[in-house]
């Protein structure tokens, strides 16, 4: 009996060991542990064993059974593991193939720069205001101290709609609108399209301006300089310096042109800044008291500063865009670079 049991056990363990997949293993299970399996048969054979030997034989049969069951279980786990590995191996893909799905689009560089500018000035307490692009002569010129037939009109080539309406030549028109309706303290920026009737290699008849206006008690040229320095350092780089030069705009007095140290060479002098180290970026000044009074703000009590610059120009400097026309051609190969 003992020999028979050892034989069955060894045979079973050998079969389990040699099984290569779960199906074979199952066959082994049925062969030995199934209802009519060989180990089950041993249990049935107990009937023929003398009564006093039964506990001992029973124990031995159970030992054989446990050994086989344990081996089966171990092998099952082993095979499952191997099969999973094999499946994963079979499922291998080329991960360098391109992704599928909709790729993101891009914002236009003018929008990106405009948003950046709005954030910078919002941080200094400026709110955004917009105004009409087809503007009355009153707001675009007259309230800005440029009466009809004034020589300052030659500073800008104007598109006229009729005698009293123009395509605004400057976002400063929004200033006049705000000053006639709001009371100080005023601190606004006005981004938007402006129009000048000149069209050549370096000019676009449409471009985008960004105007700023602060009116309150005790606003000084120093505040203007500080504000523009903060702006220039945020939009270009921390080491950017600002320089004011005397100039003329009808609606500011004193008026200044503002240069910043060249973003390319940081002031050392290069091709972009024509070797000067400085790049002219905007016009600004103290709001002309005449303008304040015309707009209904008492110039004896209040003062202000205003500035205006081209968003296009800032974008061109920041991104190294060689030609303003590229901003309006909308070539996908250009637009896609601003993600």
């Amino acid at each position: 009996m003992k020999e028979k049991m050892d034989k069955i056990k060894n045979e079973a363990l050998a079969l389990i060991d040699s099984a290569t997949n779960t199906a074979e293993l199952n066959d082994v299970r049925v062969k030995y542990l199934g209802k009519s399996g060989e180990i089950s048969a041993l249990m049935r054979d107990m009937a023929g064993v003398p009564k006093e030997e039964r506990p001992m034989v029973g124990k031995l049969v159970n030992e054989v059974r446990f050994a086989v069951e344990e081996a089966l279980s171990k092998k099952t786990e082993l095979l499952a593991q191997a099969e999973k590995v094999a499946r994963l191996k079979a499922e291998e893909i080329d991960v360098t193939l391109p992704a599928i799905g909709n790729e993101m689009g891009t914002l236009h560089p003018l929008t990106i720069v405009k948003n950046e500018l709005i954030d910078i000035f919002a941080g200094m307490g400026f709110s955004v205001v917009e105004g009409p692009e087809i503007e009355s002569d009153l707001y675009n010129f007259q309230l800005l101290n440029v009466p009809k037939d004034h020589p300052a009109r030659d500073m800008q080539d104007t598109f006229y709609i009729n005698d009293n309406m123009v395509l605004r030549t400057q976002t400063s028109a929004v200033q006049a609108r705000v000053m006639t309706t709001e009371k100080p303290p005023i601190r606004i920026v006005c981004p938007g399209k402006v129009y000048r009737s000149d069209d050549d290699a370096s000019h676009s008849p449409i471009f985008n301006q960004f105007e700023g206006l602060a009116v309150d008690k005790h606003i000084t040229m120093g505040d203007l300089k500080g504000c523009l320095e903060t702006f220039a350092q945020k939009i270009f780089s921390k080491d950017t310096k600002v320089r004011l030069r005397p100039s003329y705009f009808p609606f500011t007095e004193p008026s200044v042109e503002v240069d910043v140290t060249c973003a390319m060479c940081h002031g050392k002098g290069c091709r972009i800044c024509k070797g000067t180290g400085w790049v002219e970026i905007l016009g600004a000044g103290i709001v002309n008291p005449v303008v304040l009074d015309m707009c209904g703000i008492d110039s004896k009590e209040y003062s202000g500063f205003a500035f205006g610059f081209g968003i296009d120009r800032i974008a061109m400097i920041k991104y190294g865009i060689p030609n303003i026309k590229m901003l309006y051609e909308n070539d996908e190969r250009f637009l896609k670079q601003f993600n």
Binding site: E133, G222, E332
Partner: protein, 798 residues
Amino acid sequence: MLAPISWLKDYVDINVSPSVLAKKLVAIGFEVEDIIYQEKQVSNVVVGKIVQVEKHPNADRLRVTQIDIGGKTLQVVTNVPVVGGEVVALSLDGARLANGLEIKTGELRGVKSEGMLCGLEELGLTVDSVEGQDEKDIIRFNDGTPLGENALVALGYNDVILDVSITANRPDCNGIFKLAKEVAVALGTECREPKINYKSVGGNVNDDVSVEVKNQALCPRYMAASVKNVKIFPSSQTIKSRLLAVGIRPINNIVDITNYVLTEIGQPMHAFDKRELGGNKIVVRNAKEDEIIVSLDGKENHLKEDMLVICDAEKPCAVAGIMGGLNSGIKDDTSEIVFESAKFARDSVRRTSRALNLRSDSSARFEKGIDFGSQELGLKRALTLIYETGSGDIQDGIIDVKVDYQKTREIEFTTRKIADILGCKVPKAKLVEILNKLGIEVKDNGKSLVAVIGEDRDDIVGVNDLAEEFIRVYGYGHVKPTLFEYSALTEGSKPSKIKFVDKVKNTMVACGLDEAVTYSFISAKFAEDLRLTDDDAARNAVKIMNPLGEALSVMRTSLTHSMLETLAYNKTHFVKQAKLFEVSKVYIPKSLPLEELPSEVETLSIGMYGEGIDFFFAKHAVEELMRALGKNAEYVRSTRPFLHPGRSAEVLLYGKSVGYVGEVHPDVQETYGIDNFRVYIAEINLDEVYDEAEFETRRKVQPFSKFPTVDRDLAVVVDDKYLAGDLLGAVKAAKIKYLTDMRVFDTYKSEQIGEGKKSVAMSFSFACLERTLTDEDVNAEMAKILSALKRKVGAKIR
């Protein structure tokens, strides 16, 4: 303004280089746009001496010369009959001449030639530019001229000219002498006064001419002087060279004097031939309506009543400040002249000049504004030049008809006020010193200061102007940056509408579209290009009076035209796939011609073509937009003439169209040059979609079931005319309680289904907030759905 440095030096000592001078002028507010070195107009042309002349071995008319250019002798073949010892201008290898010709060493009939002998023309000069040369011959120098020297320098053509941009507030600086005053300030030196030195011979100007000014508002001052026994001859080389340097062609001594004074003093002058002044009278008056004058340029001008003319006893002789009449000019036999030196109102000259399209150096100058100070100075300077050049006999006296005007103006101010404007310390002594240097007298009355402004500085009217005068000389480097130290704190904010537009743009970007920005004005042909019907309101576009051209002449009423052009641009530039959007204004007039400003409507345009792009891709962007804005849009077939009739939809919100999405009509694609592939566009009126209150309201979170969701599919057969939207609409209208989601996932036609019919497969999801739904619940809901579909669209279950 062009300012030759040699001319400036008449008035101010300049001991710095032109570039240093330019920098100093920029620092005080005079931008120097260019520094023109005359001697650099052509390069590599030098003085050379002919040391040997031989006959050319192969050509009778050519000579082979050896030319010494200072330490080096070159061989030059020429057809000019030169002889040994002559000193000539020789262009060398690499020289680029004024006519564009580039000189290269080469062979002429087999003999090496290392340059070319030059005449004036090759150097861009005329006989007026330099002295002692013959226009038709080559240039010849005196023996002893340094060999190898730049030929232009040797000719004395070596001035340096500053191109200075004079701002509109400083018309007083549009003259060499006036600019010299600023140069003196920039250099910290003194400026000399113009030389006034002439003797009159007797007679009396009042015997020769009388002046009557009928409109003193437009002519506040009119001065006249008389010169007899006038001799007409060419001006001196100095005058000719200086005029040429500032771009004025020399004509004769009298005309040149008027131009010289205009350039130097900034005062336009006019010289009348006295024979043409009928009745020996000058009357300054408004023109009569439709009065005619033929101007010096031969143009017939029809005048209007608001224009000012200079007349004799009968007829107009000049358009005031702009141009003389055809016959009033100086002729070779002119023997008596009357000089005019007047101040005409700048607005009037500007208006008249533009209305008549008549321009001159004089009108350009008057338009900028002339101060009271320069009529007398100009006239006396002209008489001095007449006297110095011996051009005629100056008669005694000057006629001066003028309004009463204040010669000086006073502005009271304090250093404190100036410091408040500038935000920097203002030392009183420095302030007074600088203003004095600028010709502004300052009186100190203890409590405050008083600035006395002369008649040449109309631009200084208040303390701000004084602050500018001070700081532009003191230097902006003294202004220290501050950030609103003494003013109120304000909150920076973005209006709701801008945030809305940002959201629209971000949604488009998320849909894979790239933002475009196009011009606001488009071709007036857009309506034809888009095949718009005659009564389409989109045809009513605002026109620009002075457009850059037909293609940019009307303000767009829709973005469609621009988008199609942009897609065409990409296609012709080999871009395989384009997916674009733009958010811009369109301009909708309330009436035409415009009586009030038009509405500017924020509009979204979408345009795309390329692999994988179809109607539904374009519609996806529109749907995502609506979803982002919490809107439920409906889609019905569109009949827009520029869209494919079977592949286009109107986008409806609350039953009203807010735009369209669709494939472009093949005929329109052909018009735009984008045929043979499919193009999709959409346009949405964002103002119609935008509702500030709604946009600012945060949508509240909706509860969702934690119990299992039950999904059921249903396929029904309907008439072909019904669209998926009709079926979904029918179910939606039935208000099915537990329905949480539904969609159409398939439609197809087959013979089996029958002619004019189609099968639509839909899936539905059900859930309940309170409990798990039973089969009975869902069956009841499905029955309601089917019943609704039967009722509304005649659906039969498959």
